[in-house]
Structures are given as structure tokens and as C-alpha cells.
Symmetry: C2
Subunit: 327 residues, 2 copies
């Protein structure tokens, strides 16, 4: 669109992001990520997620053959919460919830991108099932995956997490407000992106994947349901199949981009289960991958970004173009 610095507006959060395309040319003398290119075994006796292994002093994994879900042994949320404090300065409220771990596959060496279509469909089904099940008793169900050591993942075994909470988290509340104010926001946005084509990475009858106009991370993508679904469990059987398919395509593109197993945090935003009136919500997922230039040079969201606003060094159009060309 332009090679001059500008700011773009994020319609889901109402925040701005600073785009400085010319800056991609600067030399980099900072930290480089270490990558472990040694092939992983299909079963690692020391992995606490592999089938049959001991997970802790008191728990052992079954010999599972496809996806496997268990309660997180170190959950951030418990059945009991701290006190409510109403004070002009020191405000707190109890937080309760449940945390689960979702193993995508018994194969220690797999990643989402290398799953068979059938296994990928099982992951999608598992997400849908647990969203519905936990949503019956919690205000919000946050499904996410941290992939790769660069994104704080503590085990290479392919897995994601689910944190269900009795509160609607800050960012879910912000996205709720934006969509409530402007019903049909993401459906209309998807139409506009399809029409433009510039930022489209993948699409099929049920899904659209773009590098959003307002992307903060270099190769950030937004996965939008084209059918009017507010939550994962609202998806039809064909939309679920189409989702597994398009996510395989996306993650393969990511891996191809820098010829590395691409790190990211990803997660789903469906209507918080606390809300009854959810017409304004459109189900979507965000992928936030840190890599910028190569398998070892990442974007740091630090000083200016933590204190002022997100800043990026290539345009979303350039990122989309590179992702399209990667496969």
C-alpha cells in the first residue's frame, strides 16, 4: 500500500498499530533464536505428554492413540479463588476456573502442520467438544496453543491448552464491546478482504484467512468463520472439516516460509459463554508468530510496543504476499 510510516486501526480492539515498512532494511545485531534441527523421536521416555509415561507422582498417561485431554497438573485457575476487595486503589476479585491440556497426537515428533487430515479433524472436534462442555459452567473458555520454545512452550510434544474461567478476560471483553457496537463487524470485514484480495492467505467455502489490516506481529493471521457461528460448537460438520483442512494449509505455509517448524501462539475467540445475546459475535482465531526475518531472527514486542503501541516493520500486504508464495 505504501512504504511510508503510517498507523492502522484495529477494529477488534480499537487500538492503533504503527507500520514502518522502510525499517525492515536495518541490520540486526541482537539476539538470535536457537533452533533445534535434530529430529525428535516419535516417543520420548522423558516427555510427560507421551502415551504411557508418568506425568507426575500421581498421574500416568494412558496409551492414547489420537487426541488426549487431561486436567493441567499446574493450572493457573482452581476451583477456589481469592477474596473480593473493593477499594479505590486496590481492587480484586476471585478468579476460579479449570485448565486442561490437549495432546494433538501420540507422536512426539508431530506438529499440527504434519498431522494427517483425519488427526487434524480430531483436534478440531476436540476443541468444539470442550468449548461446549466447559461453556456449560464457565463464563469463558479460552482455547490456545503456544508452539515452540520462543513462545514459552515447555514441551515439543504437540499440544494446546484450555483455560476456562468464571470471568470474561480483558481482551475477550474488549472484542465483545467492538462487535456489540458494530454488529456484523467480522462478517463485513471478511467480505471486504475477499473483495480486495491483497491480504488473503487462504480461503474456502467456510473460512477466510488474512493477515489483518491491523496485524501487529510480522506474520500474524486472522482465521474468520464465513458461516454465522459465534462459538466453536456452532460449526457444522462441513465447516469443521473445512477448518481442519485450511489450518493444515496455513501451518504448512508457516513452516515453509523460513524452512523451520514455525513458532506461534494461536487461540480461539468465540462468544464468551456468560453472554446469552451473541448475535454480534463471529467466531475467529488469531495466530501470533514471532519470527520476522528468518528462522532465528524474531520481532521483539518491547520498549515502544510495551509503553506506546504495537509497531511493525513490513506491511500486512507484504506479509500476505510472502505467505502466499511460500508453498
Amino acid at each position: 500500500m505504501t512504504d511510508k510510516p503510517h498507523r492502522r486501526r484495529n477494529l477488534l480492539t480499537n487500538e492503533w498499530v504503527l507500520v514502518s515498512p522502510h525499517r525492515a532494511a536495518r541490520p540486526w545485531q541482537g539476539a538470535v533464536e536457537t533452533i533445534n534441527e535434530a529430529p525428535l523421536p516419535h516417543h520420548d521416555p522423558d516427555c510427560y505428554l507421551c502415551p504411557g509415561n508418568a506425568r507426575s507422582a500421581s498421574a500416568r498417561n494412558p496409551n492414547y492413540a489420537d487426541t488426549f485431554v487431561f486436567p493441567n497438573d499446574f493450572p493457573a485457575l482452581l476451583g477456589e479463588g481469592g477474596p473480593t476487595r473493593e477499594d479505590p486503589f486496590f481492587q480484586s476479585q476471585p478468579a476460579t476456573g479449570e485448565a486442561r491440556v490437549v495432546c494433538y497426537s501420540p507422536d512426539h515428533a508431530a506438529t499440527f502442520a504434519t498431522l494427517s487430515p483425519e488427526a487434524a479433524r480430531q483436534v478440531v472436534q476436540t476443541w468444539c467438544h470442550h468449548s461446549a462442555e466447559l461453556g456449560q459452567r464457565w463464563a469463558h473458555v479460552q482455547i490456545f496453543e503456544n508452539k515452540g520454545a520462543a513462545m514459552g512452550c515447555s514441551s515439543p510434544h504437540p499440544h494446546g491448552q484450555i483455560w476456562a474461567s468464571d470471568f470474561v478476560p480483558t481482551l475477550a471483553a474488549r472484542e465483545d464491546a467492538a462487535q456489540r457496537e458494530r454488529p456484523n463487524l467480522l462478517a463485513d470485514y471478511a467480505e471486504a478482504e475477499l473483495k480486495s484480495g491483497e491480504r488473503v492467505v487462504e480461503s474456502n467455502d467456510h473460512w477466510l484467512i488474512v493477515v489483518p489490516w491491523w496485524a501487529g506481529w510480522p506474520f500474524e493471521t486472522l482465521v474468520i468463520a464465513r458461516d454465522p457461528a459465534a462459538r466453536l460448537e456452532d460449526l457444522s460438520a462441513t465447516a469443521r472439516e473445512a477448518l481442519a483442512d485450511i489450518l493444515l494449509r496455513l501451518t504448512k505455509r508457516y513452516d515453509a516460509l523460513f524452512a523451520t517448524s514455525f513458532p506461534y501462539s494461536m487461540g480461539w475467540h468465540g462468544a464468551p459463554h456468560e453472554f446469552i445475546d451473541i448475535q454480534h459475535w463471529r467466531l475467529h482465531a488469531h495466530f501470533y508468530p514471532p519470527l520476522l526475518r528468518s528462522a532465528t531472527v524474531r520481532k521483539f514486542m518491547v520498549g515502544f510496543e510495551l509503553l506506546a503501541e504495537a509497531q511493525r516493520d513490513l506491511t500486512p500486504e507484504q506479509a500476505a504476499q510472502r505467505l502466499r508464495a511460500a508453498l
Copy 2:
């Protein structure tokens, strides 16, 4: 305060943070930071910030003897910005500005914590001077430092940055709104923190440093001006001296905590220069250090944090207690 999960409210951003104190006990098998404990030379011929060295094809540093400020050779903001676009989905505005680099010392091996009191005072004076000078023609002046490779810093030479912009960045605007809505917010908060004492790390006649009630990063601190100053340039001569002194104490505590040169991003929030009416603003600085358990184990702000809300594994009271005990 409590060892059960709870949420605390950030009065400057109106966001919540999830506190899960019991979770500090979980084992860590993820990424560990590499630390370079080899002593640095006082002058590095390959450093583009050292006195007398070539910075680029066209620029060479003078033989500076104290602080040294020069225009960033790879600025994110330029004199010319991209186009304005008013569109229901694709909104943009030009962004212009100026970026400067502030070398704290000619000594390549120094950090803020190891500066002499006189050199620390010079850094403070330099911040004040450039805030005033750039504030005459820009809407906002963001002064910050990324310290350490873990925080995206590309050179160990002690330095910070200044990005001045023709717009008020997202987070400055949010803090402005919170203070406008509740005038005297930070002054009253500082009083309440002094009275409680639980989260106080350092204080003197002009400054208070706390691990704020709502800290997201494990050892995050907030440096609050106790005099009614809205911007750095409003500080009296004694407040500037007291600032240099208290920042030396804080950074030495940080270094002592895990016996390492402590990484962080820090930066100043003063009233954006675009605003005339600034009675409601109180000058303050944020320190965001990533380390959690040791010199090599950090907190990752990833999946849940990027998609839902900030989450921490020890209470702010525990963090303050440990910082108080560190020296």
C-alpha cells in the same frame, strides 16, 4: 495478600491481571535464556555506539565523554508519513516523527546500575532536555530503554531511545483517559501505597517506587513522581537528583536479585505534549523486566496473555519483598 487465584485491576489502563500465586511451584522444562557472563571491554572497536567508532557508511561518533545523543540511523518514524485512509474497514493515518539514541556513557561495559551518581544525573538531565525540546514540535515524546538481549536490545552498550511522534500512541491515550476521569489518580495511589508499605521498593522525598498492585511482569515496578510534575521537564533540580539516586538504587536491586545484569524494558510516561490541559497527569516510569525465577528463566507473555489477559505467578507483595531483600 492471598495465595488463591484472583484478578486485580490496573487503574491506569482499566485492564485486569490474573494472579495465580500457587503456580510458581510448577517445574520448568522450557526455554532458558543464554547469559553472557564474560566481562565486556570498556571500548569495543566493533560497537557502533562506542566513542570514535563509525556508526554507518556516513556517520562516525565523536569522542564523547558523558552522555551522547544522535539521530537513530534506522528510525521507525520519519519526517514524511503514509496516506490517510478513511474506510469502514481499512483505516490509516500518516505517522511522522523523530527517533534518537541516547548513549548513557562512553564505557561499553557500563549499565545504568553501574553509572556514577554524576553520570546517572546526566542521563536524567538528558531525558528532561530532549523531552522539552522534542515536545515543542511533536504530540508525544516516548523515552525508553530496552536492556539485554532478552528484551530485543541489539547492543550491550548502555543506551536508550527516544521516539517523538505527531500522534499520541495507544497506551499514552489510555493512561490519559484514566487520569482525566479520576484527577489526582497517581498522587492518591502513591499515598495509599506509602501507607500500606507492602509493595514499596524504594522511596525518597521526591519519588516512590512500588511493584504496583496490578503488576503484570513478575518484578515490574512503577516509579511515581511525588511532586506535582506532569512531564520530565517539570522536575525541579532536587527532584532530578533524587531521581538519579533512586534509579541507581532500583537497578542495583534488580541486578542483585538474580545476580545478573537484569534485563528490562523501561520508559517514561509524561503528559503528551499535544495536550494543553495536563493538571490530571502525574509523571511516572514503568520498568518491565522479563525474569521470573533466575537469571535464565523468564516469564513468557504468550497464549493466554496475548489472547485473554496478563497472568502472573507470584504476588506483587512477594515480588516487592524480594526486591527489598535483594540489597
